[in-house]
Amino acid sequence: MSSLVIHAEALSKSYHHFQVLRDLSFELEAGVCYALFGPNGAGKTTLLKILATVHRPSGGRLMIMGKDVVADRDAVRGRLFLVAHGSHLYDELNAVENLRFAMGLRGLAPSDRDIKLALDRVGVGAFADLKSRYFSAGMKKRLAIAKALLARPPLLLLDEAYSSLDEKGIALVNQVIREATGAGTAVFMTTHDRAKVADVARRAGVLRQGALHELPLTALTGTHELF
């Protein structure tokens, strides 16, 4: 019980009465990477944002690290980190400043060396002083991953984890996930690419018609239709 990071019971979500998620229950343990699949418009992003406490569920109960996300938001928020579609970067700040600010608000104060290491790790070390406004799509994604590296949260949420990354970037994300789960972090991610995630996912599921169905891991290496 204590190692349960996500515990969702009968979650549901409607956007002005358009019901996207219905009575969705599942659990995620520490140190596990969960890959979520589903057709376009299935509600993957929606679910991820509920887990990230961006949206409030319309019904049901969601506990993260034993805390209720509605009653105990700030405690939950300190324990998770979201890499979303939007890169959460300020155009006018450079890479270093963006990292510093994001960490500062989380109450962390990484040293210059930590920041430099993180930037080098994600391959944008050469652009440390460039305003993030001028970053390409993939470079922004890499910067967002650098934030996750510094934040070291117990729960890491990734939306379309591999999108706009080149092959080295994808390998980097997988490496980051492996290290994180090794250190006990739970990773919950959405993706459309089962081949890439097969390396790292320890569990997988597919979201279909608002319901979550667990998949066998063999489905990731197979080629038959997931949905």
Partner: protein, 235 residues
């Protein structure tokens, strides 16, 4: 269906009936039986509309304020429907009071509009209410709409007394008003119809509020039905 809505549906007719009766009696007494004013003549009869309408506007804002606090506390969508209804009716009654006031002002003050503190604070009330409805118009998600609207109503509720008092100081500090709305003193044969009208218009407002709350509630139900149909059409 919400129990509150069922309750509204059961009792609304009595409010409507009582309001209608009071207003018929009040209008008859006020427009036909009561004497014309010594100074103003027949013009004074518009008072029987203006004063109850103005009072009911304030009543409407009070309702809106209470419902908004209640909503933020309990997050019950029906309460939000009531707040929404109160705001819509509030615009209607406030505008009506403003128009009747203006019509009254033309013969008595010889202008449609003047910078009197009461008029200013009342216009601010109207603007806040319109702003409230516009805010709702620009938000699609019902939950966010309700939440933001409630915040606006609460901040406005804190603001209104300040507006009222500040404009009050504003004028009295410099020059006293030559003609004040309070200058009209009531005689008993004016007070009775006025009181009946006041009760009648408040009851009418309550009745309209009940009906409109249900309407908004049902509209939401309908949207939900439509949404459910759409959710079936997944990719």
């Amino acid at each position: 269906m919400s129990r509150f809505i069922l309750w509204l549906r059961r009792y609304q007719r009595w409010f409507g009936l009582a309001g209608g009766l009071c207003m018929t009696a009040g209008l008859y007494l006020g427009l036909v039986k009561s004497p014309p004013d010594y100074y103003q003549g027949e013009v004074v009869r518009i008072m029987y509309l203006h004063v109850p309408l103005a009072q009911t506007s304030l009543f409407a804002y009070a309702t809106l304020f209470i419902c908004s606090v209640w909503y933020l506390w309990k997050r019950d969508p029906v309460v939000d429907n009531a707040a929404h209804a109160a705001a819509g009716l509030g615009v209607f009654f406030t505008a009506a009071a403003l128009v009747t006031g203006s019509i009254w002002a033309k013969p008595t003050w010889n202008t449609w509009w003047t910078w009197d503190p009461r008029l200013v604070s009342f216009t601010v009330l109207l603007l806040i209410l319109i702003g409230y409805l516009m805010l709702r118009m620009f938000i699609d998600e019902p939950e966010r709409q309700a939440r933001f609207a409630a915040i606006l109503a609460i901040v406005g509720g804190v603001d209104l007394p300040i507006v009222k008092f500040s404009v009050e100081w504003w004028r009295t500090l410099h020059q006293p008003l030559s003609i004040s709305p309070r200058g009209v003193s009531y005689s008993t044969d004016m007070l009775l119809p006025l009181a009946i009208m006041a009760v009648g218009v408040s009851l009418l407002f309550t009745y309209m509020l009940m009906v409109r709350t249900q309407l908004l509630y049902l509209r939401q139900l309908l949207e939900a039905k439509k949404g459910r149909l759409l959710s079936k059409a997944q990719l």
